[in-house]
């Protein structure tokens, strides 16, 4: 398996196997196992999927099938500064999509992707409950409100 960039170290491997075991290595629990695994690693690289497949005795293709079916799961590592753009109704009608397009343009990545230097990743959120501030953008834990497309560059400046 030399072609895989991500390599689990022995502790991570044990931890992942423990997760599978906590669900009795039951293939019916695949989604829960993957959920936990993503919680640990931040994403689901190929090797993690292979270990899960082996432990639950199902094919890697089937695990991959589930990972690609649910948009919640990701095969991309999160960036150092994960950017989330709210696409809830309020944010959307107040121009959230234009903000999103501006992030895409500047960072040159799509939703669900990470910049090649690993600095930024981008995802969409459904309503964060701060509709008064719409459109809302989060970078890590910090919330930015009333973001306009021309304010995107200023936000990113804080994380260079």
């Amino acid at each position: 398996m030399s072609h895989i960039k991500f390599k689990l170290n022995p502790e991570q491997l044990t931890e992942l196997k423990e997760v599978c075991k906590s669900f009795n290595n039951d293939k019916g629990e695949l989604i829960n196992v993957l959920h936990k695994a993503q919680g640990i690693f931040g994403y689901l690289p190929a090797e993690v999927q292979e270990v899960v497949a082996k432990e639950l005795k199902i094919s890697v293709a089937q695990v991959y099938g589930v990972v690609t079916f649910y948009s919640f799961f990701s095969m991309m590592p999160k960036g150092q500064h994960p950017i989330s753009i709210c696409m809830g109704t309020a944010c959307y009608v107040r121009g959230g999509e234009k903000v999103l397009d501006e992030f895409k343009r500047i960072l040159n990545i799509q939703v669900g992707e990470t910049t090649p230097d690993g600095k930024y990743s981008m995802s969409c959120l459904r309503c964060v409950g701060a509709c008064g501030l719409a459109p809302v953008v989060m970078v890590g834990d910090k919330v930015y409100g009333r973001v306009a497309p021309d304010g995107v560059r200023d936000i990113l400046k804080n994380y260079e």
């Binding site: 094919s59 293709a61 089937q62 079916f69």
Partner: protein, 594 residues
């Protein structure tokens, strides 16, 4: 079933009342009274333990009185008093809309599609009288994937997921799974790698059940036509046992028709210089594998604890690739004998070429196989010398039929002809290689006589025959009870292999074929469209062909005897080992992510 009280349910379909067993579906009930509801994703080969009814495509919808929504008949159980209409205006419109939507995301390639004429989607469009596609929109596109045996063209995939059932439930290979969602959904290997980076065995069972042209075999007919047209080349052909009991179907004959003589005649008309028979090499396989079996048994009986038993047959390349991926810790258990296809190739290029004074490079060996894994097998590196393969091209039964039609040969009116000598002579033992249980029965016929020095008075071993998934039988070899296991379908093989790994296996010898039914149900055979009666007819035909042969034991084939005398010496000699045996590789790590 004895004494079990069957609960019956009364239902009315299209005005006809019928009583059926509780638990049956509307589709089943309709079928009983001659109403043929169209289906697409549904597949039921229940008597071979293969069933697929995800209820996904909705082509089979019917109207049930008192219900608001139309019901998919293939998954809806009957209920007492149900009144069903299978062709109301509402049903017909819904069915048409479903199909039109499906077609709107399907390339209009019918004229040039390999599946044309055999495609369930095409015949459904024909049957429902679709004449235009009112929905127009973007069509999804997906890259084509070509492997040594199989082409995946996912633009033609309708997500029925039959292939997934074959690959996962039946074969337990797990090369394919539905991935992504919505418009992007396709069936693919893990991480959407190409098939040759997956544990795929090339058994071709996914092709056998795919309703469309999304999965097809790599076609080598053109290369063969070019070789035949090249005056510098001598082109010879070998035909596998299962081809002769299925080829006729492609020309409208009844399933189970034996067309050995017509096939030989057609091949000669196509221009092959010599028309030979893989059956000859099957007899040779028995000499080598049978001798290997006896060798291991004798050691075992002499108290050798290290000897590997059971011995496993190794004629099926999909099975070989399966154990190389899944049981790399047990590579010393299978027989080292090459498959008949490869034994033929080795003898042709090393013995026959010399005999007729043709250089190896100028001899082209073509095989006609019920199989698509054989294409992969002849591309394996260990089966070539200085880049020149022992078998140059392998065509499926379907490709041969197509080729015969292209050459304007009226197959049905051909007079029977015979194979050429020396590599065309074979026995009944070789013929039965074409079905599950045949290889081991052939081996027993020879091993028995060689071991005991006595003549068998009955060569038919009924206890070995059948179509059950896993069978066991024992044969009395002069007081010694030889225990035999047989499995067809890789999921069944896996069970036997796991028993061996756990030290629970009691068998001395096991035969395994990757395809349900053995090669008669191979991935390169005429499409059966889910009809198991076709496989059964081929199964019976194989034993009829065997019974009709004068010689029925491999070691009595005079040309085999001559081959050992003139060339090989004796079975498992040094030269045999070099030409007719092989080794296996750990392929766990062939599956990787770029």
């Amino acid at each position: 079933m004895r004494n079990q009280i069957m609960e019956l349910v009364k239902i009315t379909i299209d005005g006809k009342t019928v009583e059926v067993e509780k638990g049956a579906t509307i589709y089943d009930a309709a079928k009983l009274i001659g109403i043929d509801i169209p289906t697409l994703c549904y597949m039921n080969m229940g008597d071979m333990n293969i069933k697929h009814n995800p209820g996904g495509c909705r082509i089979c919808v019917v109207e049930v009185e008192g219900r608001r929504n139309l019901a998919p008949s293939c998954v809806t159980p009957v209920m007492n008093g149900m009144v069903v209409n299978t062709h109301s205006v509402r049903v017909l419109n819904a069915r048409r809309t479903v199909l039109e939507l499906m077609l709107s995301d399907h390339p209009f390639d019918c004229l040039v599609c390999a599946k044309s004429g055999n495609c369930d989607l095409q015949s459904l469009a024909q049957r429902l009288g679709i004449r235009e596609i009112p929905f127009q929109g973007e069509q999804s596109t997906y890259r084509k994937d070509t492997s040594p045996s199989i082409i995946r063209d996912m633009d033609k995939c309708i997500m029925c997921r039959r292939c997934e059932t074959m690959c996962n439930q039946v074969q337990t290979v797990g090369a394919l799974s539905a991935v992504n969602r919505g418009f992007q959904a396709v069936v693919a290997p893990a991480f959407e790698m190409n098939l040759d980076h997956s544990p795929c065995t090339y058994c071709g069972q996914c092709i056998s059940v795919c309703p469309t042209g999304a999965l097809t075999e790599v076609d080598h007919t053109r290369q063969v036509i070019n070789a035949l047209a090249d005056p510098k080349k001598t082109v010879i052909v070998q035909t596998a046992p299962a081809v002769r009991v299925a080829l006729g179907e492609e020309f409208g004959m009844e399933p189970g028709t034996i067309v050995t003589g017509k096939m030989a005649a057609a091949l000669r008309k196509l221009g092959f210089n010599y028309v030979f028979d893989t059956d000859f090499a099957a007899d040779l396989t028995i000499m080598e594998e049978g001798t290997e079996l006896l060798g291991r048994l004798n050691k075992f009986l002499a108290g050798d604890k290290k000897v590997k038993l059971p011995i496993l047959t190794s004629c099926c390349p999909a099975w070989v690739k399966f154990f190389e991926h899944n049981f790399p810790d047990m590579l010393d258990i299978p027989s080292t004998a090459r498959s008949p296809q490869q034994m033929f190739g080795a003898i042709a290029k090393n013995y026959f070429a010399e005999k007729i004074n043709v250089k190896r490079e100028d001899l082209v060996v073509v095989s006609i196989m019920p199989c698509v894994a054989k294409k992969y097998e002849c591309s394996r590196e260990e089966f070539s010398t200085n880049g020149n393969p022992d078998v140059d091209y392998s065509l499926s039964t379907r490709e041969l039929a197509q080729f015969i039609k292209q050459a304007n040969i009226d197959f049905n009116s051909l007079d029977d002809e015979d194979f050429d000598r020396p590599l065309g002579e074979s026995t009944g033992a070789a013929v039965i290689f074409g079905t599950t249980g045949g290889v081991i029965e052939a081996a027993v016929r020879t091993a028995y006589e060689i071991h005991t020095g006595k003549k068998l008075d009955k060569v038919d071993f009924q206890q070995i025959r059948g179509l059950e998934n896993v069978r066991s039988a024992s044969v009395d070899v002069d007081g010694f009870e030889l225990k035999i296991g047989i499995a067809h379908g890789l999921g069944n093989a896996r069970k036997l292999l796991e028993d061996i790994r756990d030290g629970k296996s009691e068998f001395h010898a096991i035969e395994i074929m990757a395809c349900p039914g053995g090669c008669i149900g191979g991935g390169g055979q005429p499409y059966h469209h889910g009809d198991t009666s076709i496989l059964k007819a081929r199964f019976k035909a194989i034993y009829r062909e065997d019974a009709g042969k004068t010689i029925r034991k491999s070691h009595e084939n005079p040309y085999i005897i001559q081959l050992y005398k003139e060339f090989l010496g004796k079975p498992c000699s040094e030269l045999s080992h070099h030409l007719l045996h092989t080794k296996y590789f750990d392929r766990q790590d062939d599956v990787f992510v770029d």
